[in-house]
């Protein structure tokens, strides 16, 4: 009995340490972003806290513009993926048509190809189309991502077919069945795609830093790197930048977190 209780306390001790390791840096960042430079890293009363660092950032950099660019590109990409990928995944799981196996094989193969391989040719294509340094360059190629087609296919394989058959007997066509019967019961799938795609796109650095060069078209991540490059010595400013970049995704995560585990389990990520 005593041994059992010991084990239990050890487990809790471990978990608390773990939570501290993950959370303390996050709070440290937020706390220090509220302080003037000379107080960084020390404990000071709330009377010294202020949003001055944020004000300075907003006046020095086009932060609102960066927010706008990030929001536009992220929302466009997420909407595209939510529309196109379940459509394709559904067909691959349910409908029989010539070429289905080939398409699926190509899908699997393309998920093993590192994105860096196609980056340069994509850049050349964008340059030819005059889309380098526009938001189109970071939206267009990513509207339908193989990963999510695959997740959708797994999801539709896992749900029973009876409902759709009933709908078809009632005279609903393929499209009617998909949009009126299948999609409404696929909330978990859509939420999972939205969650992964939102955080991934919002945080992505390699692609926007390659395609976008003028500061007024930056997304936040690239903007943050600029802030860091110019102000690494003033960590209060840079940390405020970190908060500005991160709080929308953390908020989004808090809002949708109940879908995470459920979504991963349903979307077939469990192997």
């Amino acid at each position: 009995m005593i041994k059992k209780r010991m084990a239990k306390s050890l487990i809790y001790l471990f978990l608390i340490c773990l939570a501290l390791i993950f959370l303390v840096p996050v709070f440290y960042v937020f706390y220090n972003s509220l302080l003037p430079k000379r107080y960084i890293g020390s404990f000071v009363p709330p009377s010294v806290w202020s949003f001055d660092n944020y004000k300075e950032l907003f006046s020095e950099f086009p932060i609102m513009q960066w927010y706008g660019n990030t929001a536009i590109s992220t929302i466009a990409v997420v909407v595209g993926n939510i529309f196109f990928t379940p459509l394709a995944g559904y067909a691959l799981a349910r409908l029989r048509f010539p070429g289905r196996k080939t398409i699926f094989l190509c899908l699997m193969l393309s998920m093993m190809i590192p994105g860096q391989l196609v980056l340069l040719p994509q850049y050349i294509m964008m340059a030819k189309a005059g889309m380098v340094d526009t938001l189109w360059a970071i939206i267009l190629p990513y509207l339908s991502q193989s990963m999510f087609i695959f997740m959708s296919r797994q999801f539709f394989y896992g749900i029973p077919e009876e409902l759709e058959e009933a709908a078809r007997i009632d005279g609903l066509g393929r499209f009617g069945t998909y949009f009126r019967i299948v999609l409404p019961i696929s909330g978990v799938l859509l939420a999972t795609i939205a969650i992964f795609n939102f955080t991934g796109t919002w945080n992505s650095y390699l692609v926007p830093s390659t395609f976008i060069s003028s500061p007024d078209k930056y997304v936040l991540v690239v903007g943050l790197q600029t802030v860091n490059n110019e102000h690494f010595q003033q960590e209060n400013l840079t940390l405020a930048g970190v908060v500005l970049l991160s709080f929308p995704v953390i908020g989004f995560f808090m809002f949708t977190q109940k879908f995470f585990v459920q979504g991963i389990a349903t979307a077939g990520l469990k192997g």
Partner: protein
């Protein structure tokens, strides 16, 4: 790299495929479906193609064509800005790669990264998942705190870790107590790789933990009950039931982990600030920073593409090896 999720793997696909086929079969048996007429079959095929058409078009334009183009560029002396000087040089770029000491340094760093980070994050995330799957209070809180780092951008995470590991910063002072030098880790050729690995694992563990939790919840409770009755202790239940039951998930985590660790980039870009990628002086150069620099900084695009093709071949063959090794042990 853009979707936030790692690229996939074959094992994951076909195990679900079997499961799906099983569900489909039972549905067929109970549904008593009528035989399809050829007209219906044609309608189904047309509908199928309309459904996949947008995705296929995107894939052809933004993936297949660029991938083939990259392979062809790798056989050229290539710069898109000066097309008149592009010349076919056969395998010369590849020959040059294998004589370039910088390429081997970068490849060494990539393999080192994978060899240390992948086992570390897999073991850690598995251990946390097992603990959090037990009878623990405030499960949701612990789970979320582990996952939060994963939703923050790698750029942001690296930047604030740089403040912890700056000379005299909280983390570097702590490690100084353990006998390491109190230096800025990210600017020291000796510690930069270690810094990169710490940042990386700190951020990734939560993601793999969620995948493991998803798998653990699928293991039937009866197995544990039965083992308990037979007198198996907690350790035996873990090694004899849990580990074999979630084997496929472990393979998945290993493959994902490997593919992702090979593609690490944002963290290195943050560490390097305005100096060339892979700073300090190439101590954190990897295959990806190598190919990126060749293509976009030195405009040596044929050479950069050759390095990208090599990266693809490495990832592809390691996935294939992992896949066949997994098959054999089944």
């Amino acid at each position: 790299m853009w979707c936030g999720l790692p690229a996939g793997c074959v094992r994951w696909g076909d195990s679900i495929y079997k499961k799906g086929a099983y569900i489909k079969m039972t549905a067929d048996n109970t549904g008593g479906k009528k035989k399809k007429t050829s007209k219906m079959r044609r309608q189904e095929a047309v509908a199928g193609w309309i459904f996949v058409l947008p995705a296929v078009l995107f894939w052809l334009i933004w993936f297949l064509y660029p991938a083939l183009k990259a392979i062809s560029i790798s056989f050229f002396q290539y710069n898109y800005a000066t097309p008149e000087t592009n010349t076919f040089i056969g395998l010369a770029n590849y020959v040059r790669l294998f004589q370039d000491p910088k390429f081997f340094t970068a490849m060494g760093h990539s393999f080192l990264m994978v060899a240390i980070v992948v086992p570390l994050q897999t073991i850690l995330s598995f251990a946390i998942a097992v603990l959090l799957n037990g009878p623990i209070r405030l499960k949701g809180f612990y789970r979320s705190s582990c996952y939060i780092p994963y939703v923050i951008s790698a750029m942001a995470v690296t930047i604030f870790f740089m403040y912890f590991f700056v000379k005299g910063g909280p983390a570097s002072s702590f490690f100084a107590l353990l006998g390491m030098e109190n230096v800025s880790w990210f600017a020291s050729t000796k510690y930069a790789m270690a810094f990169l690995m710490i940042v990386y694992v700190w951020q990734q563990v939560g993601f793999y933990m969620v995948i493991f939790i998803g798998a653990l919840q699928e293991v039937p409770m009866e197995l544990y009950e039965a083992a308990k009755v037979d007198g198996a202790n907690a350790w035996q239940r873990l090694t004899k039931i849990t580990v074999p039951m979630i084997k496929n998930t472990t393979y998945l985590v290993l493959t994902f982990g490997m593919i992702n660790a090979f593609q690490i980039f944002d963290q290195i870009a943050a560490m390097s600030k305005q100096s060339p990628l892979g700073s300090p002086s190439g101590a954190t150069s990897t295959l990806v920073t190598f190919l990126y620099q060749q293509s976009f900084s030195y405009m040596d695009m044929g050479y950069g593409s050759a390095a990208a093709v090599v990266l693809f071949l490495i990832i592809f063959s390691l996935s294939a090896v992992r896949e066949t090794a997994g098959r054999r042990s089944d």
